[in-house]
């Protein structure tokens, strides 16, 4: 596994990227709390750069004992363009749905939607919120503006032990591992940003410009 950010980013670029992600996730936490009115903590992101072909093995090791995942994909378009993949262990959708409906349980029998659809919609909405907040903040900090396609579920109950990578083998994915903690519930998820070479080139320049903006 390449596993290391080093080949793609110099030390200074890596440190700046880590801090930009820390700030972005911190600000995203605060804005999410306003949007969904739930105390949310997005923990210190751990960043790696992976080759697409290494992604299933990496996820398998990181998500143990879970081996089955759901993946939400959303494309973003700006100077920094690519796809965001949000990976949750299968079953997380039930915890997330509970989180959003816990104050309405007495009315749950009135909802005329089957539970599978509700769980899928929950994943999409959580994906939309988390990806939008995180990517939006990264873009804002780096003076970019991004547009989004609607999110979609790209894999449901995907068994990582026997699957093809959701990322083309030759592409690089910036992996941002974070724990999404909502109130008392911990839901661990992984956000992957898949960017093409021109976006990576732009990102490297933008990171240096970010630091220079404090001169």
């Amino acid at each position: 596994m390449s596993g290391d950010i080093q080949p793609l980013f110099a030390d200074e670029e890596k440190d700046i990227l880590q801090e930009v992600m820390n700030i972005a996730f911190g600000q995203a936490s605060a804005e999410l709390a306003e949007v969904i009115d739930i105390f949310v903590v997005l923990s210190v992101p751990d960043i790696k750069v992976l080759k697409g072909s290494d992604l299933p093995d990496y996820l398998c090791k990181e998500l143990k004992p879970a081996t089955t995942v759901n993946i939400i994909e959303q494309s973003f378009l700006g100077k920094f363009s690519g796809q965001a993949l949000l990976v949750f262990p299968a079953g997380a959708e039930k915890e997330l749905l509970h989180l959003f409906t816990q104050d309405q349980e007495s009315n749950s029998q009135d909802i005329d939607i089957d539970i599978d659809t509700l769980e899928t919609e929950t994943l999409l909405e959580v994906g939309n919120i988390l990806i939008g907040a995180c990517i939006g903040k990264i873009a804002e900090l780096l003076n970019d503006v991004v547009a989004y396609d609607p999110p979609h579920i790209t894999a449901k109950n995907l068994n990582l032990e026997n699957c093809e990578s959701p990322v083309p083998a030759e592409n690089f994915a910036i992996s941002i591992r974070t724990m999404f903690r909502f109130e008392q519930q911990n839901v661990e998820g992984y956000l992957f940003l898949i960017a093409n070479q021109s976006s990576i080139d732009w990102l490297k320049k933008a990171l240096i410009a970010f630091l220079e903006s404090f001169e």
Binding site: D15, E19, G26
Partner: protein
């Protein structure tokens, strides 16, 4: 007048940005720590006039470090620097004794305001 500050943050870039935001010719002695545990140790060693404290750090987070520092020295002037400015977070650090919170990334203006607040707090302590 402030003579020394301690910057506690696991990110070398965050510490660099904080130093860049200090006024030119500030004349301050600057100590740095890269996690909460090291922050507490350096606080006890150097007794800085002001401590800037990040919250999300490995080894020991900023909440624990703030609480530990205030236990050792209730007069310690600690200003939290965080990107996560949720009301619950602001209330919690305020209850724990933080003088003020600045939002990350800091700016020259927000750091200057923080230094003024710390100076006033220190002068108030000296008068009391």
């Amino acid at each position: 007048m402030l003579k020394s500050i301690l910057i506690v943050d696991d990110s070398p870039v965050a510490r660099m940005i904080m130093k860049k935001c200090l006024p030119p010719d500030h004349g301050l002695i600057i100590y740095e720590a890269n996690n909460g545990k090291e922050g507490v140790e350096k606080f006890l060693l150097h007794k800085p006039d002001l401590t800037f404290m990040d919250l999300t750090m490995p080894v020991m987070d900023g909440f624990t470090a703030l609480s530990t520092i205030k236990k050792h020295d209730p007069q310690a002037i600690v200003i939290v620097a965080t990107a996560d400015v949720q009301e619950k977070v602001l209330r919690k650090v305020s209850t724990m004794g933080a003088l003020h919170t600045i939002k990350k990334p800091p700016s020259k203006a927000s750091v200057s305001e923080a230094l003024q607040l710390a100076t006033s707090a220190m002068e108030g302590q000296n008068k009391a």
